[in-house]
């Protein structure tokens, strides 16, 4: 039982990080039907921005998260502007290939500037390294910070999407872009806004991963990016609550496999889940079958 609770805490930490990344995938897909493969790289750059904020500017963890979110917001909007917007009217395949190109460009540009070697994240303040035992279950305070910040950001996102004007515009554009235009909604601005929010969440996730694994490198975005993508597909891509469910399922599965002593299969299991869901329910857990519009 103790062991189970222990692993549940680990799964929750990992799941919340995946959730933050998966949300960006799913929101962008929901609005322009593009799988933004450069999303994992935004998260990687977020991790580096957090690293510099702490090591160069000697600021704290929360300032690092904030800085990463701001830089990633700008970066995400910029990527959409230069890479995806000019292709808005071309085939979806063209945008997809561009997204993969953008992902590689960011990976290797970063590698050129910072080198390929992994770096250790700056030492955390003592309160982040503290751990305490709850009936035998060891909880690290950084895990609580990770879960806490993720939950806070998700609640914030929910608030933005459900109640604000831009949130409503986002949902309107994702349901019917043309009808949204007839409401006087600027589709371009709404898409920029979506990239901004998704990228900010990825930036935060980058710093949280740096804290959790204590190691960052320019290719660190690939695996978590893919796994978050699997999480989004699992829940039904384009559906926000689906991404959350998917992320915790993926985080849980990964943790369970490691806990059972098969940590070599950690990544394999995630992709097995992807294959399984694509066979059993291709639209994802919460996805609906949509009729093709004619």
């Amino acid at each position: 039982m103790t062991e189970f609770l222990q692993q549940a805490i680990n799964a929750l930490s990992l799941g919340s990080i995946y959730a933050l990344i998966a949300l960006g995938y799913t929101m962008v897909y929901g609005i322009i039907k593009l799988i933004n493969f450069a999303h994992g790289e935004i998260y990687m750059i977020g991790a580096f921005v957090g690293y510099w904020t702490m090591s160069v500017f000697h600021l704290g963890v929360f300032e690092a998260i904030l800085a990463a979110m701001i830089v990633c917001t700008v970066l995400g909007v910029l990527i959409e502007r230069v890479a995806y917007r000019p292709l808005r009217r071309s085939t979806r395949l063209a945008s997809l290939i561009t997204a993969i190109g953008m992902s590689l460009l960011l990976q290797y540009t970063m590698m050129y500037f910072v080198g390929a070697d992994p770096r250790a994240y700056p030492a955390l303040p003592d309160y982040m390294n503290a751990s305490f035992s709850l009936g035998g279950v060891v909880v690290k305070s950084q895990q609580l910070v990770i879960i806490g910040i993720s939950v806070l950001l998700m609640i914030l996102l929910q608030f933005v999407v459900k109640t604000t004007k831009m949130g409503k515009a986002m949902r309107a554009v994702s349901q019917d872009p043309e009808a949204a235009q007839l409401m006087g909604i600027s589709v371009d601005r709404t898409i920029s806004f979506t990239f901004a929010i998704g990228s900010a969440l990825a930036g935060a996730a980058g710093v949280l991963v740096g804290i959790y694994y204590n190691s960052i490198n320019p290719l660190m975005g690939i695996m978590p990016g893919l796994k978050a993508f699997v999480a989004a597909v699992f829940g039904g891509i384009g559906i926000i609550p689906g991404a959350l469910i998917g992320a915790f399922v993926i985080g849980g599965a990964e943790t369970a496999v490691s806990a059972l002593g098969y940590s070599l299969f950690r990544d394999g299991v995630v992709f097995a889940i992807l294959i399984a869901i694509l066979i059993v329910k291709p639209t994802g857990l919460l996805g609906k079958n949509v009729r093709e519009k004619v």
């Binding site: 409503k168 949902r171 019917d176 043309e178 009808a179 007839l182 409401m183 909604i185």
Partner: protein
């Protein structure tokens, strides 16, 4: 109020609208009638900015709006109820109406009350998802949503489509009342019979051109219109 001059629209190599001109004066209900594929919807989509014309000009209250965005036209007072209603299915009735007022700083309770006054069923259904409404209710929601923008000119595309005759009559009665309250109406309709009953003036379209124009009541009496569109 609204003037369209020498409008040409192409879809690739297909010349869909062939240099048509028409105007809508303040306070009128003007209707474009014609068979399926005559170009009525394309004309309306050019007016609202969803389809870029190849050439021609569109002016609203004297200002050339030909190359402006759909958003800009909404703020100038053009509001379209699209063909097939196009309500946001995964949003509530209330949220759909809120979106109609997107360009206003805040949603005015007065406008909302007015819409609920015209369409009491929407008030009953306000927390329901728009996708779960019946066809007639969705048509009312689409119209209410457009009215939330406080349009000067309301563009209506096939409001009778797919509705039972009794409901069509109800919708058209409401259109007349909206017009009497001061909104100019440009109506596109396949159901020429009912459209000509409420319209001030009408234009008859055939394969991308306007072939007849005039007073709606007089047009309804002409042999061509009777034969081709009124089943007489």
């Amino acid at each position: 109020m609204l003037e369209v001059k020498d409008l040409n629209v192409h879809f690739g190599v297909i010349h869909a609208i062939k240099g048509i001109s028409f105007e809508v004066n303040e306070g009128e209900i003007v209707c474009l009638i014609g068979a399926n594929g005559a170009g009525k919807t394309t004309t309306l989509r050019s007016v609202s900015g969803l389809k870029k014309p190849t050439s021609g000009t569109i002016t609203l209250e004297g200002a050339d709006i030909t190359s402006t965005t759909p958003q800009n036209r909404v703020s100038r007072g053009l509001s379209q109820v699209p063909e097939g209603r196009r309500v946001f299915p995964e949003m509530t009735v209330q949220e759909n109406l809120d979106l109609g007022a997107f360009q206003h700083r805040r949603i005015s309770q007065e406008d909302l009350d007015e819409v609920f006054g015209r369409f009491p069923i929407l008030a009953e259904r306000r927390r329901q998802l728009a996708g779960t409404l019946s066809g007639g209710e969705q048509q009312m929601l689409a119209m209410g949503r457009a009215l939330m923008a406080r349009p000067k000119v309301l563009l209506l595309d096939e409001p009778s489509m797919g509705l039972a005759p009794l409901l069509v009559q109800e919708i058209f009665d409401i259109i007349v009342r909206i017009n009497e309250a001061g909104t100019t109406v440009l109506l596109v309709e396949q159901n020429a019979n009912i459209a000509l009953q409420i319209a001030t003036r009408a234009y008859v379209m055939e394969t991308g051109s306007i072939v007849l124009a005039g007073d709606a009541k007089e047009l309804a009496q002409t042999d061509e219109v009777k034969r081709a569109y009124l089943g007489g």
